[in-house]
Subunit: 209 residues, 3 copies
């Protein structure tokens, strides 16, 4: 990560812990054992960034060298395993944290893609897979179609893709503005999620045409 804004690091930490909690909660609700809960917490929290790093050739993935984040994921998994019922009731706070994490990961993933020299599509892919890849692998492990592909309640993957596209577009138009582009990208994702939740913004579905 070439960015120099400390706020981004703080947001990335919040995002990792949030995704770890959501992965652990899904595993707990499916009745998995303690190891399964830790595995799904880790996969959800760091799976998207790892897929991105494999694709752009940053091997081993950056998170494998970031032991404090991995220890924190395990602690979160243990806490969720013990207190899952409380967490399950925190609907709106979890939605806010999840939306924040989605925006931050999409923006940081797009940055990684641009640093690897990818073009528009590659950058959008890198941002989107960073944001949603962990949740998709979690869903595959739990034996369900990834929710992001079928979800008709809320913009999610498309909000992440739009944020990544903004991160790509701003430096192309206005050089030397990467930190600004990251914040704009994350804000785009968050705004689209909010518009979807509160204003009913949706993508068209096949059955509706």
């Amino acid at each position: 990560m070439g960015t120099s804004l400390p706020v981004i690091d703080v947001l990335a930490w919040i995002g990792v812990l949030t995704f770890a909690a959501m992965g652990a909660l899904a595993a707990t609700q499916k009745g998995l054992d303690l190891l399964g809960v830790m595995v799904l917490a880790a996969v959800t929290a760091v799976g998207g960034g790892s897929i991105r790093d494999i694709v752009v050739g940053n091997l081993p993935p950056a998170v494998f060298r970031d032991e404090p984040k991995l220890w924190a994921v395990i602690v979160v998994a243990l806490l969720v395993f013990r207190f899952s019922r409380t967490l399950d009731r925190l609907g709106t706070p979890m939605w806010l944290l999840d939306t924040l994490a989605l925006g931050v990961f999409a923006a940081l993933g797009a940055e990684t893609g641009m640093e690897a020299g990818l073009g528009f599509f590659g950058t959008v892919f890198a941002g989107t897979v960073s944001a949603i890849g962990g949740g998709m692998v979690r869903d595959l492990f739990l034996g369900t179609v990834p929710a992001v592909l079928t979800n008709n309640r809320d913009l999610y993957a498309s909000a992440a893709a739009a944020g990544a596209a903004v991160v790509f577009a701003i430096p192309a138009l206005l050089p030397d503005l990467l930190p600004f582009a990251l914040l704009c990208g994350a804000a785009t994702t968050i705004a689209l999620r909010a518009a979807s939740r509160y204003l009913g913004l949706r993508l068209p579905r096949a059955g509706a045409t």
Copy 2:
């Protein structure tokens, strides 16, 4: 791709567009939204080659630098989303295009494997995963056992593997014949598919022994 035959480039384009259309059609029939249709079109069209490139260490995968093909995949996904019922009726033309794409991707994937210094098995894997990997990931995303592993109507993955094996065998026997080997490999795959469809050629199944 070290080959110099323009016909191969044209065939590769036809293959990408065909697989994009088939992925988009499967997503539309499952009622996914517009983003899901675009994702499954892209995964089906370029997923196999991307897995091959990850395995042989060509990172980022070549298609991530081939923006025109990715734009074309998105356009195909939008067209299928709008006109899926028409496409669904084109059984035999789609079978012909799919068989052509399978043969071309198996041959080109085998070439990539040989350029990376792989032996017989590695080359057959590289060719086969190029040809069928995108469809397998699409099936996993749609929550089904990959059709190529269970399909008893038609030779498919085994036809791709045989074509890749031919691409490996010919230059080992007759040097300086790589373009010829590519065409023979693709022709082998296509001939096996045709023999399977019209003559009933099959692999044995466990229940039948």
Copy 3:
């Protein structure tokens, strides 16, 4: 693999053939055709080590250059396809071979992770995914939640993770003892599996709290 103990090579061969047989057996029981049986034998036998090699950046994965092992996997798949009923009756011998394979792969995978400079978590991941990754991909291909995430009969993934942790810990405390660490790691995994089978040792599950 930097180790110089020939016994480790022999154990690795036994492990590959055992996992190939178990993958082929699962495919045969699901009624897949001959190609599906060969693919699932190969995926189960070499999938875990390949994922580990992709993650640490050893590309192409080492097994792609180890053609004798791949030929042996195919021969095992053909034998299982023909004699699956006999194999199915060998409960305890297969459990012993599977447990041996699990311990050896966890230890060798941890060694690969340490050679790549990974820390504690990365090494445990590399060992665990080497041991259980092939079986997880096999389960995903067969359309089921990976058994290692839900299994409540027996310690399996957690036994592999504990063995990998031992391989990491011993050289950190006592340098120049890597071959000893590998054997201790494998023994840890095998002992935990045996304790689980014969003494009822279990991980807690979410429903039980």
